[in-house]
């Protein structure tokens, strides 16, 4: 499943980032790691970004970014 498809306020675990090392490294610089638990808090309208929570902080991720993040639901 991709992060962009997850339900609001449901915790999921990041399993991978598609689309090259560049994006993955950039996300790491912002403190977003594979294996982290994240949830989508809000969605901006009209194809805007997602507001997500990751380890106690909030981040905005553009749709293009969220489309490339693979997640799986937590048991």
């Amino acid at each position: 499943m991709r992060l962009i498809e997850t339900e609001q306020n449901t915790w999921v675990q990041v399993t991978g980032v598609k689309g090259g090392r560049g994006l993955q490294e950039k996300l790491i610089q912002y403190g977003f790691f594979i294996g982290d638990r994240v949830r989508v808090l809000r969605r901006a309208p009209l194809g805007g970004p997602l507001l997500i929570e990751v380890s106690g902080r909030e981040m905005a991720l553009g749709r293009g970014v969220a489309e490339r993040i693979e997640v799986e639901s937590l048991p």
Binding site: G19, L23, E25, K26, L27, I28, Q29, Y30, G31, F32, F33, R42, R43, A44, P45, L46, G47, G48, P49, L51, S55, G56, R57, E58, M59, A60, L61, G62, R63, G64, V65, E67, R68
Partner: protein, 574 residues
């Protein structure tokens, strides 16, 4: 003795720097406000410390310009002690950078900043235990309120003087970001106890401010109130200041007789002084104070979130909204703030489009010509037209340079109660830039212009730019102010007055000419100061490209307005 402050964006590093240095570093609740380092001398218990505030970095191995700058500084400059500022409310992530600092062979002191924020979140941190585990001093700090600042620098000085054994430090074997991430989480687990979280208004605020409908309504309302207040205050201040300075000019020039070289020179110089004090300052100061307030509260990243979709339409992403908003105050900080964008292509685009945004100086032209002679609706129309042209330019540029980044990645910090000191310091810092860099040029430019007028050089310059003024349907006399407007845009009005021999522009220019002139002035080549920053940020080539672009855009926009307005006037008279 040199001490470097290092920390993640938003950790309160610059706030700490301002507490001790005062009026130096720019701080803001938006990541990457400190794009270059700032230095100051600080006296701690009788020793003078060179304090350097490095740009906020998530990691020392990062690729953003700010991170590379921090990295380069620590590697190459003689630093005696590093103060790592950690955000206590997000200790696990802060420690990732902290652990990188521990791998440097230099004395390190860590500060647990924002302990008040951590307490609000119900976090209890065992600082002593952490210090023991890491092998470096860990000190409590609430930089925004000045608590713990003195003790921190005493400890830093002590570490710098006595050295520090580096072999016993924790985590010297951690190599990858993943390992540091895991170690940070482990340390936070061990030394942070989660108590009860006190939910308050700040946690609920985003429900309204980021709401898909109300969020935009509030944004519009905030911007409306913001600009209304700024311009309201500005016009209230402008009129008496202008009257006072004009009276002063008359008094100072009187002893030199009438129409003599010296009286012309004095009047020209004083017009430059007047332009700065009475025309620019009344708008710039409230604008910067208001912007500082929005920045400190943490609203600007929310604006980036809300505007991301819109900004994608013109080929940029949400983060580039900041240069645009800043641009309405002054293009210089606007161009500087493009440094927070990672991709060179985004930086170029944002800088090019931000220089098309009418700054406070060009605002004086819009107000002095369009609003005054043609009414507020025409002024609003010019602003709307400006936005349209910027969007169009953005689309065209995107065709030429396609967007290749996946999009926005931005930390949204918690709201903070702004401190008066921070907001004033920041506004002062930016105003000082204007006073030091721009104002002298304004005064000198105005004096040079007076001399040129006296020796009748204006005729030749007017002749040289006659093709341009002719095609725009403007009188030949406006050629000189157009060329010298590049020196400083706020001179445009003063110079126009000098060139036309009257400040009553309505009597010499008709409606179409007034509007066409204003449109051209708003878009064409940014002022000298902006050109300098463009060169620093993008190199000579970037500066020349953007200058050329603005001339083309200005010419096209002015021609279109001339055409459309002439048709409207024709239709009205028919």
């Amino acid at each position: 003795m040199r001490c470097a402050l290092v920390g993640r964006p938003n950790c309160g590093k610059s706030t700490l720097f301002n507490q001790v240095a005062g009026y130096k570093a720019e701080t803001g609740n938006f990541h990457g406000t400190t794009v270059t380092f700032t230095a100051s001398k600080v006296r701690v218990t009788g020793t003078v410390l060179d304090l350097v505030d490095l740009p906020g970095a998530y990691t020392l191995s990062g690729a953003s310009p700010a991170e590379r700058e921090a990295q380069r500084y620590l590697d190459q400059e003689p630093v005696d002690v590093i103060v790592g500022v950690l955000d206590a409310s997000h200790l696990s992530q802060s420690l990732e950078l902290g652990l990188e600092l521990l791998q440097m062979d230099k004395p390190v002191v860590l500060a647990l900043n924002m302990l008040d924020e951590a307490a609000r979140l119900g976090l209890h941190i065992n600082g002593a235990g952490l210090a023991e585990k890491l092998g470096v001093p860990v000190l409590p700090l609430v930089a925004s309120k000045g608590r713990g600042v003195r003790n921190l620098f005493v400890a830093a000085l002590d570490a710098a003087k006595n050295g520090q054994p580096v072999n016993h430090r924790y985590g010297r074997d951690l190599r990858t970001p993943h390992e540091r991430h895991a170690a940070g989480a482990e340390l936070a687990e061990a030394f942070v106890r989660q108590g009860e979280r006190h939910l308050n208004w700040r946690d609920r605020l985003d429900d309204a401010l980021l709401h898909p409908v109300w969020g935009y309504a509030v944004l519009l309302l905030i911007l409306y109130i913001f600009f209304q207040t700024v311009y309201g205050l500005g016009s209230v201040l402008e009129t008496p200041l202008l009257a006072a300075l004009e009276a002063l000019t008359a008094k100072v020039a009187a002893p030199f007789g009438e129409g003599t070289f010296w009286s012309q020179l004095v009047i020209g110089t004083m017009q430059g002084v007047t332009g700065g004090v009475a025309i620019v300052m009344p708008y710039l100061l409230p604008f910067l104070l208001g912007l500082g307030l929005l920045e400190d509260i943490g609203y600007l990243p929310r604006v980036a979130f809300l505007m991301d979709a819109m900004m994608h339409r013109i080929g940029l992403h949400g983060k580039a909204i900041v240069p645009f908003i800043l641009g309405y105050g002054c293009n210089v900080p606007a161009v500087m703030s493009t440094r927070t964008l990672e991709e060179p292509r985004d930086r170029f685009m944002a800088a090019a489009l931000a220089t098309l945004v009418p700054c406070a100086a060009r605002l004086s032209v819009v107000f002095g010509l369009v609003a005054f002679y043609l009414g507020p609706v025409a002024a609003m129309g010019l602003y709307a037209f400006n936005l349209f042209v910027i969007a169009l330019t953005g689309r065209v540029l995107t065709r030429l340079m396609p967007e290749d980044t996946p999009g926005l990645i931005l930390e949204i910090p918690p709201y903070r109660v702004p401190t008066v000191r921070n907001v004033f310091n920041k506004a002062w810092f930016r105003v000082r830039e204007f006073v030091v860099e721009a104002w002298p040029a304004l005064i000198a430019g105005s004096a040079v212009l007076a001399v040129l007028n006296f020796v009748n050089a204006a005729r030749y310059i007017d002749l040289a730019v006659r093709p341009l003024t002719w095609i725009l349907g403007l009188p030949a006399e406006v050629g000189l102010p157009l060329i010298f407007g590049i020196l400083r845009k706020e001179l445009s009005l003063v110079m126009l007055g000098q060139a036309l021999g009257t400040m009553d522009f309505g009597s010499v220019l008709n409606t179409v000419q007034l509007f066409t002139y204003s449109v051209f002035v708003v878009f064409y080549v940014p002022c000298l100061a902006t050109l300098m920053v463009l060169r620093r940020e993008l190199g000579n080539k970037g500066m020349l490209w953007i200058s050329g672009l603005t001339v083309v855009v200005a010419l096209a926009a002015a021609l279109v307005s001339r055409l459309v307005l002439s048709l409207i006037v024709l239709a009205q008279s028919a």
